[in-house]
Every structure is written in C-alpha cells, then in structure tokens.
C-alpha cells in the first residue's frame, strides 16, 4: 500500500529561485536562507520519497482570470517550468504520477471535495522553488511530483478548516492506492507577507512563530482560524498559509518535528520551513 510518511512546509518566494539560478546563493543576503535547508537536503536524500504531493498556488501563470479553480490536481505525465515573463527557470521538467493522481481525484471527489482535473499545465515558482530548496540543482528531480494548485489569489480561498479536512481525505486516498509508494505531502507558501498597497512589507514574527508551533502541536484548533486573522495579522498574501493545513491534515495527529527554520527577509517575505515525520 502507498503511505504518507512525512510532511514538509516551506515558503516559495520567487526571488529565492532567482538567487539560486543566478549563482547568488552564497551572497550574504541569501546564504542564511539556503543554510536553513541544509538539514532538509540531507534528510530527504535519506528518505528517498517516491512521490511528492506538492500543494502550492499558481500566481497568474497557468490560470488567468478566464478560469480560477479552487482545488486543481495535476494528472499529467509531466509539467514544464513556466515562462513567467522572464523565461522559464533553468530547472528540470517535473514528472508526474498520473495513476496515483487520478486515483486521488477519484477518491477525494467521492469524499465531497470537488477537484478540478488538469491534464495540461505549466508550473510556476510556487512549485519549483520548494523543489530547488529541498533538492538543490540536480539534472533531474529525484522523485515524481503531483502538483496540487489551490486558489489563494482570488478571495475567498478555501478555509483553513476545508484544507485540513481535505488533507485527511487525501490520506485516505493515498492509503487505498495499491502500490508500495513512499509519499510525502508538502504545503508551501507563506509566511507573513503583503505585496500590495501602502501596507506592503508587513512581517509578523510573533504570528509566524505561533503558527509554526500550532501547526505542529494543535492543528485541529489552528484549522478554525478565520481568513480575516490571516489577512490582518500575516498580510494579504500571508493567507497562503491555509495551504500548509492540507499537508498537516494528511499526517498523524501527533508528529515528530525534525527541523524548523524561520528567517526574515527573503525579498518581501518571511521564510518558514518545517520537516515533520509521522511518528
């Protein structure tokens, strides 16, 4: 049977990808960011996941305002890095797992979560920056990836509660897939940041660190946090953090925190990162 063994959360700031792609990762501004992932790179090399279910959001790249799905699952065999306006990132093509993705869609939709099935999609920095942070710059990504795009651009996004419950449905789906697969779930985006208006640049370290504590130890309670608390406390784009709750819902109630990292700033954003194992 397939099983979910671990969860990872990380911010997906585009400037991090640009720093790596342009050889700036050792510069004083960026070195502390990348150093926060040294443990994680070694950890994932040991874990050797077969598939990563990667929860992220598209940033007006694959989805224009013509169509805005709330939850979209990538069922294709591969996904090309998107040209976001300055050429595609020089990273490997992302290889999917169409059989598992289709199985998850079949299971989760019957569990009352109405996913949009996507068979052709380019993936932007929201998906590729987390892969770069965890795997560095390999010739090919060392495992398969199922992209799972959540709308957090057009308000309202799904509630934290809905995301947490979706994580639980995802777990049931994965555990009913008849193949011996080591699956990880990643929740990306956040932490506090606001990219727009006179309040741009908002960072809330107290909120972020409390969120890191609670998503590890009391996710059930955290999942009830209303949207307005994310917006007011963590900035208009901090609401991306609801995506972390999909990851958390897919893990055991009690988890082992293997690694935690928090850093300000990366461009406009607070970087937060967790490595969690099912105990």
């Amino acid at each position: 049977m397939a099983r979910i063994t671990a969860g990872v959360t990380t911010s997906h700031v585009p400037a991090i990808g640009a720093a790596l792609d342009n050889g700036k990762s050792a510069e004083p501004y960026w070195a502390p960011v990348f150093a926060g992932y040294n443990f994680s790179k070694q950890w994932i090399a040991e874990q050797q996941p077969d598939v990563i279910f990667l929860v992220y959001n598209d940033h007006a790249t694959a989805f224009s305002l013509d169509m805005v799905p709330t939850f979209a699952i990538g069922c294709a065999g591969e996904f090309a890095p998107a040209d976001e306006g300055w050429g595609p990132r020089p990273v490997p093509v992302v290889k999917g797992h169409p059989e598992l993705a289709s199985h998850i869609a079949q299971s989760v939709i019957q569990d009352d979560f109405d996913l949009t099935i996507v068979n052709k999609m380019d993936v932007d920095h929201g998906l590729t920056v987390p892969l770069s942070l965890m795997f560095g710059q390999p010739e090919a990504w060392p495992c398969l990836v199922i992209p799972f795009a959540v709308n957090v651009v057009l308000y309202p996004p799904p509630s934290g509660r809905r995301c947490y419950e979706l994580g639980k449905a995802l777990r049931r789906a994965v555990e009913s897939f008849d193949a011996d697969l080591n699956v990880q779930v990643w929740g990306t985006g956040g932490m506090s940041h606001q990219l727009q208006g006179p309040r741009a640049g908002l960072i809330n370290k107290a909120f972020d660190n409390d969120f890191l504590d609670r998503i590890v130890n009391s996710p059930e309670e955290l999942s009830h946090m209303p949207h307005i608390d994310y917006v007011r406390e963590a900035g208009s784009e901090g609401i991306e953090l609801v995506m972390w709750l999909i990851m958390r819902g897919a893990l055991n109630d009690r988890v082992i925190e293997r690694h935690r990292f928090y850093h300000v700033p990366a461009s406009n954003t607070a970087v937060g990162h967790l490595v969690l194992e099912n105990g």
């Binding site: 305002l65 309040r199 007011r232």
Partner: protein, 132 residues
C-alpha cells in the same frame, strides 16, 4: 443585506475578491497578455495603442500608463497580474512594492532587512502606525 467583508477595515490593503475580479477582468487579462514576448514588444512600442485593444476603462488605461499600482488595484487589478507589467519594465517585485508605499526602493529594502513593517498600528484603519 450584502455579504460581510471583514477585511475592509484593514489599512493600506485592497483584497482582490470576486467583486474586484469582475471589475478588473480586462485589466488583468491585458496583464496576462504581456507574458508573450511579441505582445510585450507591441506594448512597449506604443503603450496607448496596445491598451486601446482591450475593453478597459479609461481610468484603468491611464493608471497603467502612469504605472500607478495602487490605482490599478483600486480599479480591480491584482498584484500577481500587475507583476507582468513591472516585469516587462524590468523592475523587481520589491522595487514595485516600494512604489505602493511612498518609500524609496532603498528605504523599503532597508525596512525589510530590519524585519519588515510591524503589524503594530497596522491592523485597523484609524490606528496610529509605528512606521510608514
């Protein structure tokens, strides 16, 4: 009775909700078109003529020509779409964000290095902000 929008009293913030997405549809789709190099070239060659190909309001077009990002957002623009404009201009996200705050690029970058804008005084309209 309308829908409750509790985010309307968050200062300096325009939430891109379904109503704003309706108002800004053509503005944001114009932005999406700039992801194609041929469209970028045509826009740069004659911005006004390119904008006139879109069903945007005159106010929206003028805000684009003025690169007034706060105005564009008030007229339904979303920052991830508007990013296509400042990317076409060769301006970073951080530099573009600084123009929305009334700070210089250097002042804004320093604020971020110093830990960002504090939430203290920045949660509700009418509060006294500690910075900015």
């Amino acid at each position: 009775m309308g829908l409750h929008k509790p985010y309307e009293d968050v200062p300096g913030t325009t939430i891109f909700d379904a109503d704003m997405a309706r108002i800004g549809y053509h503005l944001n789709q114009f932005c999406m078109s700039l992801m194609k190099p041929g469209n970028r070239a045509r826009f740069k060659a004659d911005e006004r003529a390119y904008l006139d190909e879109w069903s945007m309001t005159e106010e929206q077009k003028q805000a684009v020509l003025d690169r007034d990002y706060n105005r564009m957002m008030a007229l339904g623009g979303n920052v991830y779409f508007l990013a296509k404009i400042f990317s076409s201009d060769g301006i970073s996200f951080q530099a573009a964000a600084s123009t929305m705050t009334g700070m210089t690029v250097e002042e804004y970058a320093q604020m971020m290095i110093d830990g960002g804008r504090s939430p203290e005084g920045n949660r509700f309209v009418g509060e006294t902000s500690n910075n900015g």
